[in-house]
Amino acid sequence: MKEYTQQINFTDELKARIRELISRYPAEHKKSALLPVLHAVQDAHDNWLSVPLMDKVAEILEIKPIEVYEVVTFYTMYNQKPMGKYMLEFCRTTCCAIQRGEDLMEYTCNKLGIKPGETTPDGMFSVVGVECLGACGYGPMLQLGDYYHEHLTEEKIDALLEDCRQGKVNLH
């Protein structure tokens, strides 16, 4: 497997956010903050979690590194390798599937020259198939960062990719 290295940087802002998250749980149950803390840490580190970064989280929450690995490998939203700057997550479940969601994911992959799960060589885009995102009445849809893009068409995807290239899309 290819090795990737990651720049680790706990800014003051991130540290303050982590402190706030930890304060939501009783002091003796600091571990409870693990999932939200991992989200905050991943968001601040180019959307993925390397082993040294996970170890750092373990240290902050005073738990064993294995307890962090267990969680990171269980939940689909934590990435263990670098992803594209813009990660397009297509819903592939029932209601989106019957509304041509699969075709649109294929369209996007062809356009970008990648397969589902892959990232473009310039590191700009990844395409991923995910399960129902709770937008079933507004499908087909995809998630990009914190936001949903619904009622997708080829034209909408073209415009979205273009906006990403021009830096016009907010992820958080």
Binding site: R24, P26, S32, Y78, T94, A97, C132, C136, G145
Partner: protein
């Protein structure tokens, strides 16, 4: 005018903000409960209302609250289940997005009734922007004295926080959710002990769905009896139905329990009928875990009574000709939909989401996915259909959590009602190689092929 309980104030401009919500009677149920009612009196009203949990299982909410272990003296908790991942379901997101304070208000009153001083809203990680809406709304509730110490001078303290998951359907199952809230993998726990005795951090906990908790304020304001007067029989109140698929008006609707399905389906106020006037083929009425129903059992039960929007009516006929209201994820399919492909898609979903603790679920869901894939792609064998039946029957009832059942019922129902489509796939592999086969040539056009062939 149909009674609106959850959507009563939805149309008020700005209702998502604290100021407008408060000006329009928001948080009065907290005032009423904390100033004039004991915790047990609140629980009593919820019991009287007859409301059943809206997360899918339909367990009476007041009864669940009365099970919470107060005697042990351990800290107690309310955990709101906002994991909403059942395919077809998006009502909780809708409520939290458009009227977030309704959930917070309900959670305060519920926590008061349970004697919980530390409660959580567990939201799925993908709903990150809703998570942020809730964080903001919670901060407003703290700033205005609805949360924190000695609320309204009543002596009741409550901290309410939002916690996020990270992508795992199984975390909607209440014990997996509690594991996840403790910072662990979402593996469901063996029951008993039930969460009401040993929940988060082994402390007594009640888990309720967003829609359930959002109904509490209305119940307290108007009284349990008024709530029970809405609806039909043991299905009291209203239910949010989220409709998707081939209908004119997809969206989230609040319907009074007992409304005829036919009215819901065809009236312009609701779904408005089929889009593009293509024929209706099937409906899954309550999320992907529920059984699919063919046309003849959607608007009428097996003995010819009108099918109603209620727990009892959808379940009428049991597993053979009935289904379930479930989470309210109402999915409509026209004649271009391939039931085999759809069932494969749902099996793939459950296989992907199985936590892997129980062998029947971990292995069985994978086998079903593989077999369905092969049938759908024209590589199936006649005996595959019965193998599928066999696998699903061996998962059912043999697992720690209900995900195993949820994965097996849709397969059984699909074969039971649409066996001819499975046979068509097996016998005419060339015809199904293209995944859009029914888009180009619906079942009605090819049925004669099966009938003309001797059944082995």
């Amino acid at each position: 005018m149909a009674t609106k309980i959850l959507f009563e104030k939805l149309d008020i401009p700005g209702i998502e903000t604290y100021e407008v919500y408060r000006k329009n009677g928001g948080y009065t149920s907290v005032e009423k409960a904390l100033k004039t009612m004991s915790p047990d009196e609140v629980t009593e009203q919820v019991k009287l209302s007859g409301i059943r949990g809206r997360g899918g299982a339909g367990f009476p909410m007041g009864m669940k609250w009365s099970f919470i272990d107060k005697a042990s003296g351990k800290p107690r908790h309310l955990v709101v289940n906002a994991d909403e991942s059942e395919p077809g379901t998006y009502k909780d997101r809708f409520l939290m997005h458009h009227i977030p304070h309704l959930l917070i208000e309900g959670a305060i009153v519920a926590s008061y009734a349970l004697g919980a001083n530390l409660s959580y809203i567990y939201i799925r990680g993908e709903y990150m922007w809703i998570y942020k809406i809730l964080e903001k709304a919670l901060a407003e509730a703290y700033d205005n004295g609805w949360l924190g110490k000695n609320i309204l001078g009543s002596g009741f303290d409550l901290d309410l926080h939002v916690h996020c998951g990270a992508g795992a359907y199984v975390c909607g199952e209440e014990t997996a959710l509690l594991e996840s809230l403790e910072g662990k993998r979402g593996n469901p726990r063996m029951k008993p002990p039930f969460p009401a005795v040993s929940g988060v951090w082994a402390e007594p906990t009640v888990v309720n769905n967003v829609e359930s908790i959002s109904s509490v304020s209305w119940i307290v304001n108007h009284g349990g009896e008024a709530y029970a007067n809405v609806g039909i029989g043991k299905s009291t109140g209203t239910k949010l139905i989220c409709a998707s698929g081939h209908i004119k008006n997809p969206g989230v609707y609040e319907v009074e329990m007992g409304m005829p399905v036919e009215e819901f389906f065809y009236s312009d106020e609701y779904l408005g009928g089929m889009i593009d006037d293509r024929p209706l083929k099937a409906v899954i009425p309550g999320g992907a875990s529920m059984q699919i129903l063919p046309t003849q059992y959607i608007f009428k039960t097996a003995n010819g009574d009108p099918r109603l929007m209620s727990y009892e009516s959808w379940a009428d006929g049991g597993k053979l000709t009935g289904s379930g209201l479930g989470s309210g994820g109402f999915m409509v399919f026209n004649d271009t939909v391939c039931i085999v492909r759809n069932t494969w898609n749902i099996s793939r979903f459950f296989h992907h989401e199985s936590c892997g603790q129980c062998t029947p679920c971990r292995e069985g869901t994978g086998w079903m996915e593989k077999i369905l894939y092969r049938i759908e792609n024209g590589l199936g064998r006649e005996e595959d259909i019965n193998i599928l039946y066999d696998i699903q029957s061996q998962i059912e009832g043999n697992t720690i959590c209900p995900l195993g059942d949820a994965a097996s019922w849709p397969v059984a129902a699909a074969i039971h009602h649409f066996r001819e489509e499975f046979e068509y796939h097996v016998r005419f592999p060339e015809k199904v190689k293209n995944k859009d086969h029914f888009r180009n040539e619906p079942m009605d056009k090819v049925r004669h092929l099966i009938n003309s062939m001797a059944v082995s």
